[in-house]
Amino acid sequence: MTAWFSGTLPWYVAGPLLGLFVPALLIVGNKQFGVSSNLRHLCAVLAPGKVAFFHYDWRKIGLWNLLFLAGIMIGGFLAFHTGAAHQVAISPATQAALAKLGIHDFSGAAPHEVFSWHALLTLRGFVSVVVGGFLVGFGTAYGGGCTSGHAIGGLANFQLPSLIAVIGFFAGGLVTTWFILPFLLGAL
């Protein structure tokens, strides 16, 4: 019973629950599930400049989504402080592969050797956090969606553009994992 309130949710519980947000948002206000649109809304709120892409009524179009995003941050905080696993039980094969790249501490959400304030000034930390973040923002805006809007919402609605985008997600992810990370982390 306690498994419901702490630790790792089984994939067959977590996946369907996450999928239900697509119909839930439609039922509430005919809203389409998609988190990365918020990056555009934040640009429109914070610094629209002279860029046409950021000149629209964000209150009308994006306020609901920004609140959804604020909720995500609160929900993550609650889960983290009320029993989400702080050491993720990844497979021994992944542990071995990462150990070869110099990562030995598997606690937390991301390796401390790379994702800390201190590491931000190292090449691996800078590329992972600053360049990585930039690519996430640029790529999702260019591709018109992320894992939520394309991989879940788009595929569920049988959208060919979303399938192409998801193939791109994996192409990029595989290149980073197999060709970039060995150089980036291998120097640890």
Partner: protein, 162 residues
């Protein structure tokens, strides 16, 4: 003439429903849904850099199980919803517009660029934000960087192939 009239009424309906969904009670519902989503997402461990590595190394079924079962659940409920003809609680008829394919360049190029960043940060946009308050405060830098990335896209947009 009639057509313009129809269009105007449709626009008025859209306007009304947009106003409707910005009512405080609806905004509170979106906040609550976000909290539930962030909670489940964190407990699912899809926010973990380590899980993303496991996925891109094909060393566990877990992430594929999560995304696959999320898609199936969303597809089935979406199909039922479309067939039901239900209206949303805010009053509009429920419809999901098709995504325009165009030349498709934006999807493969943008998708791949996002993929590069997904494996670097170990986080797609939702985890990027949620991690700031749940164990990886340095992710605030990645969030700022992601906003900058989106801004640069908006700036270069007229010059990029789509």
């Amino acid at each position: 003439m009639t057509q313009t009239l129809v269009l105007e009424t449709e626009n008025a309906a859209v306007e009304r429903s947009l106003r409707q969904s910005n009512r405080p009670v609806f905004l509170a519902v979106y906040l609550l849904l976000g909290i539930a989503f962030g909670y489940v997402l964190t407990r699912s461990e899809a926010v973990s850099w380590f899980r993303i590595q496991e996925m891109f190394r094909f060393q566990s079924f877990r992430m594929y199980g999560i995304i696959g079962s999320a898609v199936v659940t969303a597809a089935v409920t979406l199909a039922l919803l479309k067939r039901s003809g239900l209206k949303s609680l805010a009053g509009e008829s429920i419809s999901v517009p098709d995504k325009k394919l165009g030349r498709g360049i934006r999807y493969i190029a943008g998708g791949s660029i996002f993929g590069l960043g997904w494996a670097l940060t170990g986080a797609c946009p939702a985890p990027l934000f949620s991690l700031v308050g749940s164990g990886a405060p340095v992710m605030i830098v990645a969030v700022v960087s992601a906003i900058a990335g989106t801004w640069v896209y908006g700036w270069l947009r007229p010059k990029l192939p789509h």
